[in-house]
């Protein structure tokens, strides 16, 4: 008997030729993540007078397959910030654990919740600090040729307690804007949000209700037009008072009447 495990259960070499093990060789450059596998689509967010609204659907796609339909992609940090993840879901889960560790570390030294000498949340990382941290993290990962395949939105308040919204991508590119969207949302939702708030001044005129309404409208457009999206989504609002996240929002009053008029796609024969 051939005691080498790699030869067990194989077709005979003398008949079928030797096994091509070349793909197992580790010579050549080390290869890390080359592409995302399970992915989340757009994350969108809009500033308003007192804070920021953010939304992302609950779908994790495996290629074009709608593989997992209950994956919320927004999380809160230290009850002061919201982080939304687009892109690779396993990298999102890694970052989620990493941020949990960070929040535990932060809580070691922060004043206790019952300390009345400082305002709540004072001294803990705010959204601007958190965004800076994630930018350094993602940039250093890409410099090591092992990127975290995500585009991330961070929302909350900055050190002067003004609404803060910023984005960072898998290369560590960071920027900020009164409204932001990742993935397909950058093309489909951003123009809608900009109609209402092209500048910070305009965003500061928006009420919370108006901002939520605009975001919900954008989520509907995204569901109509983005084939990797879902009508179940998460919605977060962050203000001075804290973070509210609802993970079971449902798109309402959908109207697919327009679909009939679209010709030339899919399996239509007429």
């Amino acid at each position: 008997m051939d005691h080498r495990p790699q030869n067990w259960g194989r077709p005979r070499d003398d008949v079928y030729g030797a096994y091509d093990g070349s793909y197992l060789q580790s010579s050549g450059p080390k290869q890390a993540t080359q592409s995302p596998i399970v992915t989340g689509t757009s994350v969108i967010a809009l500033k308003f007078k007192d804070g920021v609204v953010m939304a992302a659907d609950n779908l994790a796609s495996y290629g074009s397959l709608a593989r997992f339909t209950d994956v919320p992609r927004l999380r809160s940090f230290a009850e002061t910030s919201v982080i939304g993840f687009g892109g690779d879901v396993s990298d999102m889960q890694y970052l989620n654990r990493h941020l949990t560790d960070l929040s535990i570390d932060e809580a070691y030294a922060a004043p206790s919740s019952t300390d009345t000498t400082t305002s709540p949340g004072a001294g803990t990382l705010n959204a601007a600090n958190l965004h800076k941290y994630l930018q350094k993290l993602l940039y250093s990962r890409r410099n090591n040729f092992d990127p975290l395949w995500n585009q991330i939105l961070v929302a909350g308040l900055d050190s002067s307690e003004a609404p803060f919204l910023a984005s960072v991508d898998m290369r560590g590119t960071a920027f900020t804007s009164p409204s932001l969207a990742t993935g397909f949302g950058a093309a489909l939702a951003q123009p809608i949000m900009r109609r209402y708030a092209e500048t910070d001044e305009q965003a500061a005129q928006l009420s919370r209700e108006e901002a939520v309404k605009i975001i919900k409208e954008c989520m509907k457009v995204l569901y109509y037009r983005d084939a990797r999206s879902l009508d179940k989504y998460s919605l977060a609002v962050v203000t001075k008072a804290g973070v509210e996240i609802s993970e079971d929002e449902q798109l309402e009053q959908q109207s697919w009447a327009f679909a009939e008029r679209i010709k030339g796609y899919g399996t239509q024969t007429v």
Binding site: A60, V71, P72, R75, F85, M92, N96, R97, D101, T114
Partner: protein
């Protein structure tokens, strides 16, 4: 200490002819001079309390904490050499973080006690280190809830693997005390530091094993016991620091937190009152004796 001067107590990890490691025993002496720390495990949570003797009027009141959070559900208090205690806390935090990284779940109180016991024991084995000059009390509340495979973002499978056995109870409040030798036991009530003798005597009166004491009562008892233990050391002022951990449906929602100021002050008020009552009784007894 008949063996002092025989040379067997000059280096760590050396056995004396009668099988003792003197350096570890001396480390215990450092603990015995420290402020009293106690822990109480009750039916719905754990309480930690420490007597902080005020060594200088110039210390900022309330600013120097001695009870540390290790993970969200874990707290540690210690008596003895404070910098050694901080080292202990740092290591415990590393262990908790490492456990989360490996197993994607918070470390259990028993597991942390085991890891830290091993760490302290290792410091008795080698001549190039010294043992820790602290005895530490670890309190934890291991979650009774089904914890998700992933945190808040993305849930694991709602059915299938998870390792839960139907009907088996998981989690609950736990308390461990670790000595400089690395020896540790689980406790219902633990005490260490200068006032440990009287603190232990008070803890034993509480019937903690009976499981009747509630967390709110335990906070009051903890405050009282620290006041009783301090009684022998009356001339020095002290600050009381207390923390607690309840289950997910209790006041701290499973987290290790400082006891809110209002509750602590009320507990201190009761403690002082109870102590005055004792003194009066004693005086009465003395008076009666005199009369006799």
């Amino acid at each position: 200490m008949t063996s002092i001067g025989t040379g067997y107590d000059l280096a760590n990890s050396i056995f004396s002819p009668d099988g003792r490691n003197f350096q570890v025993e001396y480390a215990v002496k450092a603990v015995e001079n420290g402020g009293t720390s106690i822990g109480i495990r009750c039916k719905d949570g754990v309480v930690l309390a420490v007597e902080k003797v005020i060594t200088s009027k110039l210390l900022k009141p309330g600013a120097n904490k001695r009870i540390a959070t290790i993970d969200r559900h874990l707290g540690v208090v210690y008596s003895g050499m404070v910098p050694d205690g901080r080292h202990f806390v740092d290591r415990a935090r590393d262990e908790a973080r490492g456990w989360r990284e490996t197993f994607k779940t918070p470390i259990g109180t028993a597991d942390l006690a085991s890891r830290m016991g091993g760490y302290l024991q290792a410091h008795t084995l080698y001549q190039y280190v010294r043992p820790f000059g602290v005895t530490a009390i670890i309190a934890g509340y291991d979650s009774e809830l089904e914890t998700p495979v992933e945190g808040e973002v993305g849930k694991g499978p709602s059915v299938g693997a998870g390792g839960k056995v139907a009907g088996k109870k998981h989690g609950g409040p736990f308390l461990y005390m670790i000595e400089p030798s690395g020896l540790y036991w689980g406790y219902y009530g633990a005490a260490t530091g200068k006032g440990r003798q009287s603190a232990k005597a008070e803890l034993e009166k509480l019937d903690l094993a009976g499981g009747e004491l509630s967390l709110e009562q335990a906070v009051k008892e903890a405050a009282r016991i620290i006041y009783v233990a301090h009684d022998d050391n009356k001339d020095k002022e002290f600050e009381l620091e207390m923390s607690w951990i309840s289950g997910a449906d209790g006041p701290t929602k499973g987290r290790h937190e400082e006891v809110p100021k209002a509750i602590r002050e009320e507990a201190e008020r009761l403690a002082k009152k109870a102590l005055e009552g004792d003194d009066e009784e004693e005086e009465k007894k003395d008076d009666e004796k005199m009369e006799e």
